[in-house]
Each structure stands twice: as C-alpha cells, then as structure tokens.
Symmetry: C2
Subunit: 418 residues, 2 copies
C-alpha cells in the first residue's frame, strides 16, 4: 500500500509543479501585457511624430521609450527565470520557440526606433512593424493560455489572452483612424480596414466574455459605456460613413487619438485586473494543493488504517467506466479511496480543460479558414466571416465544421510542398 | 541574437525530454500489454478451474501464475523508473494517480488467487475481479496514449491502446462464452452479454484501424482470417442463436476456449509488433531531434552570420497569421529563419496532435453517452449505439454532437451533487 500512496504523492507533486509553472507564466502574461501597452502607446506616438513630419508627439514619445525600456527589462528578466524553470515537453518547446521569435522582435526595436526618430519611415510601415513585435509577444501569451493545466486557471488565461488581442485590435484601430484623419479624405480601403479592426475587436471581446467570470465582464461592460463610448462611436461613424474622396476634418485627429487612447488605458485597467485575479487564483489553487499534499504526507508518516486489498474489487471503478465507488463508507480514509478520488478529480479536470482548449482551438481554426478565404478570394475579414457563416447556415452545419472543410479544401487547392 | 538561439536550443531540449518520456511510457505500454496478456490467460484458466470444481486447468493455472509474477515484476520495475523520470504537470499527475490505482489492483491479486485456489469464488466473480485489474492497467496505457507529444507517435500509441482494449473485450468474450457452454443451456442474458462484447471488440478494433499504419492493419487482417476465424464465427453462432433454455453442447467448451485462446495469442503477436514499431519510431524521432539540437549547438559555437535585426519585420509571420516568410532566401541560416521554421513546425505538430486527441476524445464522449443510455434507459450496448446513430441521422448531426447533447441532458436529468 505504501507504493500506491507514494504515487499519489508523486501525482500531487506533479500538480504542484504544473501550478508553479502556471503562476510563472501568468506573471509573464501580466508583464507582457504591460510591455505591449507601452508599445501600443509608442506605436501611436510614433505615428503622430511621423505623420506630423516631426512636429508633434516627440517629447511624449521619448518619455514612452524610457517607460518601455523598463517594461522590456522586466519582461526579459522574467524570461530568464522561465529558462531555468524546468519546462519540458511540447508546451515547453512551443513556448521557448515563441520566446525566441519575440526576443528577436524586441531586438529589432532599436533600429526601428532610430528610423522613426530620423523620420525615415511612413506611418503605415511603422504601424506594421510595431504590430509585428506585439503579435510575437501575444503569441507567447497565447502559448501560455493554451497549455494551462487547470480548467479554471486556463479559462482565466484564455479570457486574458482574448482581451489582450481585442485591445491590440483597438490599438490598430486607433492607428488606422489616425491615418484616415491625417490624410484629410475618406478612402474606401482605409475605411474597410477600420471596419475590419472594429469587427475583429468585437469578436475577440466576445471570446473574452465567453471565458471571463461574471465580475470581470461587468467591470468591462462598465468601462465600455456612457459618454466615452458615445464619443468613440460618433468618431467611428464620421470616419466610416464619409463617401469615398469626401473631406475628413483633420482637426478631429487629436480628439480621435485621445478618445482611443483613453479607451486603451481603460482596457489596460481591466487587463491588469484580469491578470491580478489570475495571479490570486493561481496562488489560492497552489495553497489548496499544497495542503492536500501535506495531508497525504501526514498519512504516509502515520500509516494508513489496515485495509483489505480485496476492497479494490468492491470499490474500484468498474471496467466499463461506470463509477460504483461508495463514498463516505468505511473506505473514507484508505489509500484506495484517496486514489479513486484523485483519479476521478483529475479526470474531470482533464475533460473540462479539453473543453476549454477545444473552444480555443475552434476559434483558431475559424480564424485560419477566414484568413484563407481572404487570401484566396480577396475577401475582407468581415466578408470572409460572413461567407463562413452563410455556408454554415446553408449547409446546416456548425461554423467550425465549415471552417474545417475550408481548410481541408485548401490542402488540395494549394500546390507545392507544405 | 545569442539569447534567441539559446531559447531555440531550450525548445529542442524540451522536445528531447518529451520524446524520452514518451519512449519510457511506450516501453511501459509494452510491459503492461505483456502482463495483461498473462492476466487474461490466468482469468481464463481460473474460470476453468472454478467451473470444473477444481477438476481442470489447475496445473496450467499454476504455471501461468509464475509467468505472471515475472511480468508483474518487470512492469513494477518500469514503474519505479517512471517515478524518477521527472514527470510533471497534469499528465504526470494523471499518470501517477492511475498508477496508484493499478498498483492497488495488483496488490489485490494475491488474496484473489488464494480465493480461486480454495474454490471460494464463482467464475463470474473471478472474471469481474481480473477484469478490474486489467482495466486499471489499461487506464495507465490510455493516459500515456492521451499525452504523447508527437502526432505520429501519439497515433501509434492510440492504435496500440485501442488494440489492447479490443483484445480485452475478446478475453471477456472468451469468459462469457465459456460460462454459457459450462451452464449447458442458452440463456438470453448471457447471450446478450456475448453479443455486446463482440460488438465492443469490433468497435475498438475499428478505432485501432483508424489510427494504425497500413502495414499493421494488413498484419491484423491476415491474422483475423481464414479457418481460425471461420471456427470462431461458427462457435459464436452456436452460442448466440440457440433459443432461450435450449441445451448447449458442453463438450464444445474446450474447443471454444482453445479457439478464443489461439486468437488471443495471435492478437498478442500483433500487439507486440505494434509496440515494437512504436519503440523504433520513438528511437528514430529522438535521434532526429538530437541531430537537430547538435546542429543548433554547432551554430551557437561557431556564431551565426551577422543578421540585420530589421529583417524581423520583413520575414516574421504577419500579425494576422498569414505566413509570408521567404524560404531559402538569404535568411536560410539565420537564427530568425530557424526560429520561424521551428515555430511553424511545432505549431503544425500541435495542431495535428490536437486532431488525434480530439478523435480520441470524441470516442470517449460517445462511449460515455452510450453508457448513460444503457444506465438510464436500460438499453444494451448495441442498442445504445444504434439509438445514438439513429438520433444523429434523424437530426442530420454528427454522432459526437448527439453524444454531447445526450451528456448535456444528463447533467440536467441526474439529480444531486456531481
């Protein structure tokens, strides 16, 4: 019986390791969110600076650079800690390879900033460059979200990731709108892009809502309401509905930038709250599992009540998986009862986790199918989404099934080696 | 750039750790298969011994006990190695907790065998007890199959698991048929049970076929053909079609036992082949990844060609996930190109793996939905399966969707705490 108890303890220690790793990656997600927020601001200020030919945003931009250096240093220090955290397996491999890309993105910031300073880039190129670094950082957070070992914590990380992604679309919306105002005239391509970004943003925030707890959803609903939202929507309408070539009031550019920036700051507050709640949930879960491990250790030290080995046949789960274990019976404190409880709980956790991941995976597949339609049929993101939805309705199938069919078709249609 | 290369190497090492762990669990699956085969024989011989009131099967049973002690010792030694293999996270936790249950099952064998020896059990009780120990061992293999880190290896492990499960249903079929012959008369409940076991067996073997490579499928098709299959099917027909209460020729009992046993031995051969191919595939994959790691290490030692950090913006994947990296260009040997290749490959592997697991998970859900229909509506396994299929056809939905709907309904219908 000692051997079985020994493995129950080993199972607990695995859970504890997993939670420690999760606590560390949650901390990393928070630090990445902080750094991304700074890079989003820098992107906006760089555009202001570039768009005004060096006339505006210069001081704010330099101040932001100092902030960002500090955030970057904090994130890099975290990354060094990850290096020695004993990650292994496919998750570790994916996380480290994402980190390698993100680090190269950050390395590329220094020459990028010199180009911005020298006004050697146009705003769209600068926007694209910053967006790529941010995307590489988001990919690290996504990897963390995709591999969390606890369903509740996984759900929180997934909510945080979707919120961060929504916020990034909001940041790109700010840049796209600024570019439109700066040009002084409505331009259908720019307007279309703006609408895509609003649409993508809403879908990310919907996904956030699907995974977040009610309290955070309420906090976000509160933040996204009232006069600030009305101001944003009015400016969005002005930008989006002006006929092609019609003049846009360039004087509204600062108001647009300010309105969007305030919204980004409010989003950052919600994000920090999500990250804080995640850290607290990690700590609570870790404390609970530590307590359980200690109770097992006490049991190992004091010895377990002598048990009849044949009770295995009376109380173990039947081969067909129907659970017939008596709970609260004489087995209560036996190692067998503990083993059964643990196996049952881990199984349930695994299934719940698989459900969270499956829904994350479905979103990924739908995004990829959309990207494919955009690339192959020259559709806008909104139209690609509409097309998928329409196909699903016509064929009476789920969106995910249609997306899978589209991706399967792509393998056939795309020539050459994969 | 050194830092990024450092993390690329760390990613490789994670892959290597994952593959080593997989090699170890594959070895464990093989040892478990060996032990299970012995326990299946012991179950059959114990039934013979019990059913004949101690008249038959005694010597063979004692010889088998010695064999099984050796197989058990080999499996236990493997388990001790797992203990120090540095497993962690949710997979480690589930595996160890399954191990704890399986070890208790093995601990329970000693008193069980004493009861068998003393003729203190009836054959059905003995069958049920052995089946539970085997189920606990299969659960360990299932956990290993569910957590493999490489899609090809995962598919092989899943194929092996389903084959082992099919073989176990075949073993239970042998016991159920022996019981019918021993009773001397056809009994609808026993006949129904026999048909379930044949049906479950066929579905497990179908699942094996879905995951196995073509060669192994051909080997199995060859093993399951010709005169031996015809003999089995004839005896199955005699058992299954005799009217309720009609006499069964007890003289056929040894022929039934022998025919089934020979089939189990043939299955064991296929199983060993599957396990051998899995071990070889693990070793090959490990060698390949080791080579890759060494080439990275050489690169780290010799230094990488100086790269323009700004190439990140030209070649990194775009934020929307559309892959625009030029391959074979000047980036070929740069750390950036390596990082991109690695991220892309790990991503593809992750998606393929998710697909393998999803199909494993779907099978699990369908099994659970079936179990529910059997429990709540008193259906046989075959009828539960037919009901699910009918619902899917009527509603024009996939089997898995119907299974999910049934399970969701169960949460509503089943009262009390979960």
């Amino acid at each position: 019986m000692t051997t079985a108890l020994h493995f129950l303890l080993a199972a607990k220690r695995c859970e504890i390791d997993g939670l420690r790793e999760l606590a560390l990656t949650s901390e990393g997600a928070d630090l990445a969110a902080q750094l991304i927020h700074g890079l989003q601001r820098e992107r906006g200020l760089s555009n202001l600076w570039l768009g005004s030919g060096g006339g505006r945003g210069g001081d704010a931009r330099l101040a932001q650079l100092a902030d960002n250096d500090a955030s970057e240093a904090a994130w890099r220090a975290h990354v060094q800690r990850l290096d020695t955290a004993g990650l292994s397996g496919p998750h570790g491999a994916r996380l480290f390879s994402r980190l390698a890309l993100a680090l190269q993105g950050l390395d590329a910031l220094r020459p990028l900033r010199a180009q911005v300073q020298a006004l050697a880039l146009d705003p769209p190129a600068a926007t694209a460059a910053f967006s790529r670094v941010i995307a590489a950082l988001l990919a690290v957070v996504f990897e963390a979200a995709d591999s969390a070992s606890d369903p509740d914590l996984s759900r929180r990380l997934v909510a945080l990731f979707h919120f961060m992604q929504g916020k990034e679309f909001a940041g790109q919306e700010r840049a796209a709108g600024s570019a439109l105002f700066a040009s002084g005239r409505a331009d259908p391509v720019g307007q279309q892009r703006l609408l895509h970004l609003i649409d993508s943003q809403e879908r990310s925030l919907e996904a956030f809502g699907a995974f977040a707890d009610e309290e955070t959803r309420a906090v976000w609903a509160q933040a996204e309401s009232g006069a600030p939202l009305a101001r944003l929507e009015r400016l969005r309408r002005l930008l989006a509905t002006a006929g092609g070539g019609a003049p846009l009031d360039a004087e509204l550019s600062p108001a647009w930038f300010e309105t969007c920036s305030q919204r980004m700051d409010r989003m950052r507050t919600v994000e920090a709250r999500l990250a804080g709640a995640l850290r607290a949930a990690c700590a609570a879960r870790l404390a609970a599992v530590n307590d359980e491990a200690q109770s097992y250790e006490r049991l190992a030290a004091t010895g377990t009540p002598p048990a009849d080995p044949l009770s295995f046949f009376r109380d173990a789960p039947a081969p067909d998986g129907v659970d017939n274990a008596g709970r609260g019976g004489p087995l209560q404190d036996s190692v067998l009862a503990l083993a059964q409880d643990q196996a049952r709980r881990l199984q349930a956790m695994g299934e719940e986790l698989a459900a969270v991941r499956a829904s994350l995976n479905e979103r990924k597949l739908i995004e990829r199918a959309k990207g494919l339609l955009m690339a192959h049929r020259g559709l806008s993101e909104a139209d690609a989404h509409k097309t998928l939805r329409q196909m699903a309705m016509n064929q009476n199938r789920r969106l995910i099934d249609v997306a899978e069919a589209v991706l399967a078709m792509a393998d056939v249609l795309t020539p050459g080696p994969r």
